[in-house]
């Protein structure tokens, strides 16, 4: 005998929603978390290009993500391509590694937005 009350359906939908939220919430990290974990080791915790791997002996320095003049040279697509495919995607050094197989598309978009907040700039052509 199948008898579903309205209340039962609502509860089921809410439950499903909570479960879905939990699943995606457990996997995808926020842009701040990702930045601290993956990027700060070179770009620094504040994004000034001064992480522990930014050594004087390196051929190029990590980009200062707080510098509007530097970050305004890049379009949003440039930023996302550099994150996914590494420095060579924007004709820069391979010292900027590729994260396209580590971060999801939406995490990369969120990181781009995070960088735009750090530089307080809109980017090339905007």
């Amino acid at each position: 005998m199948i008898k579903t009350s309205k209340k039962g359906i609502v509860t089921a939908i809410t439950l499903a929603g909570v479960l879905l939220l939990n699943v995606s919430g457990a996997m995808a990290a926020t842009a701040e978390e990702n930045y601290k974990f993956y990027c700060a080791q070179c770009h620094g915790l504040q994004g000034r290009g001064d992480g522990p791997n930014a050594l004087p002996s390196m051929p190029v320095s990590p980009r200062d993500h707080t510098s509007a003049p530097e970050m305004n040279k890049l379009t949003d697509d440039d930023i996302m391509n550099a994150i996914a495919d590494g420095g060579p995607a924007t004709s820069k050094s391979s010292l900027m590694p590729p994260f396209g197989k580590t971060l999801s598309k939406s995490e990369i978009v969120a990181l781009k937005d995070h960088l735009r907040k750090l530089c307080n700039c809109k980017g090339k052509g905007k």
């Binding site: 990290a29 978390e33 992480g51 522990p52 002996s57 391979s94 590729p98 994260f99 580590t102």
Partner: protein, 223 residues
């Protein structure tokens, strides 16, 4: 005459005793090592049973030390015993710290404990290390490490005898005496099994399988 005979006997018995002692310490091992690993609370910082547990950045940041559940497939025979007696920093920074230098304060073991624990750890093999890779310096692997992917951005290597390179990854300056090339290839090609969440990017799908093999052979030859 009598004295001479006595001397011979005692020399023989000393020889026998040391031979027996040697055999005993060579055999002591896995079970004793496992016990020492438990009583010394090594598992408080090291995961000794697979599979990999970390799924999120938080999971990884909650860890206090590297995984050892595939140690027998990862390390060169002989490396662990020496390191456990005299643990010199492998990671230039403290585990997952961006600010603190690794001062080399890891727990030290006595010679016997080190031999036992090393035997135990070397018994922890992974069935996912399947492809044999011969360590060898090769131009393709070298070009990927130095130019195409700049692995040195996070890993120290030796340049004309001096350590150079980034500091957030484990040093690869003497990878040849520490790591098995077979494991390096497995680690690079199958990150989900060995280390699903880490601050090194995944390269499988970015580099081809042939490139990963050359790269693993090259890294396995670094000394």
């Amino acid at each position: 005459m009598k004295g001479m005979k006595f001397l011979k006997v005692s020399v023989l018995s000393v020889f026998l005793a040391s031979a027996l002692g040697l055999a005993a310490s060579a055999q002591a091992g896995v079970a004793e090592g496992k016990k020492a690993f438990e009583t010394k609370k090594c598992a408080g910082c090291h995961q000794a049973q697979g599979p990999a547990k970390e799924k999120t950045i938080q999971d990884q940041l909650a860890k206090k030390g590297p995984e050892l559940w595939y140690a027998g497939s990862k390390f060169q025979p002989g490396f662990l015993e020496g390191w456990l007696k005299d643990p010199k920093p492998i990671r230039p920074m403290e585990y997952y710290s961006l600010t603190k230098k690794n001062t080399g304060s890891h727990q030290k073991l006595s010679a016997q404990e080190a031999a036992d624990v090393a035997a135990y750890l070397m018994s922890l093999k992974s069935a996912d290390v399947k492809v044999a890779i011969q360590p060898r310096d090769n131009p393709k692997g070298r070009a990927i490490f130095i130019k195409k992917q700049s692995c040195y951005g996070c890993h120290e290597v030796k340049v004309r005898g001096n350590a150079a390179g980034g500091v957030t990854g484990p040093s690869l300056a003497s990878a040849a005496t520490r790591l098995q090339a077979d494991w390096i290839y497995a680690y690079l090609s199958n990150p989900k099994v060995f280390k699903p969440v880490k601050d090194m990017p995944n390269y499988d799908g970015i580099l081809t399988d042939a490139e990963l093999k050359d790269l693993a052979a090259y890294v396995g030859s670094l000394n």
